[in-house]
Amino acid sequence: MSEATGGIHMEEGGGGKIKKFLYLNRKAPYGTIYALESLEVVLIAAAFDQDVSLAFIDDGVYQIVKGQHTKGIDVKNFSPTFRALEGYDIEKLYVEKESMEARSLKETDFLVPVKVVNAAEMADIMQSQDVVLSF
């Protein structure tokens, strides 16, 4: 989970303009690597002075559920990394209410503090972004 930013100059990369980046997570963890590699992007993104949000909808909400124990499948448990996001000043985590309800998930089931929004609010959040990255 650590990697150089690719040797670019931050000042040059930022160029003064702050953009709104949304990382959209719709896939469950472990069956595929998208959730893990998405998180790797988010951690790198933290080094750039941009406005970062994460959205969890559909099966993406399963990514941040507590109690993941991956020893039995011999795959790395990356879920604790979500707890590290706060230290990178990434605090805007939006979870969709309808997606939670379809899976009987409550806010207390999550590893990290999140903001629960409904589908209409999620649509507004998506609409207000400059860049949406989906994995």
Binding site: G13, K19, F48, F135
Partner: protein, 120 residues
């Protein structure tokens, strides 16, 4: 004139993602836009293998990106972390591609007018 950044998340042939991205990039260039960078992430890193040898009557996805990039100065960047765990290294990297960090993806998001993702 717009600057487009492109993110490709899937490997060649298996998913249509790289094909669609290529035809999108070509159309953008034909319309007078600029494609400044294509970033290859997840299985997308496989698009850069110089060992790729499709059947003779099939398109050559790797070389087609190489050619388009050369003619139109597109920066083809392969994510180092994704590449290492998938066996893509300088040793089997096609000329015209370069391996670098994820920062290059964020940078493409910042510097392009639009970042368009193609994946599964």
């Amino acid at each position: 004139m717009m600057k487009f950044g492109i993110l490709i998340n899937e490997g060649p042939y298996t998913h249509q993602a790289s094909d669609t991205a290529y035809l999108f990039a070509k159309a953008a260039i034909e319309k007078g836009h600029k494609v400044n960078r294509v970033f290859f992430y997840h299985d997308g890193v496989y698009n850069s293998s110089r060992l790729t040898e499709p059947p003779q009557d099939d398109r050559h996805i790797v070389n087609r990106w190489q050619k388009l990039a050369k003619e139109h100065h597109i920066d083809l960047v392969v994510c180092v972390a994704a590449a290492l765990r998938r066996g893509i290294k300088d040793e089997n990297l096609q000329e015209g591609f370069r391996i670098s960090g994820l920062g290059q993806l964020i940078e493409a998001g910042i510097q392009s007018d639009r970042l368009v993702t193609f994946g599964d």
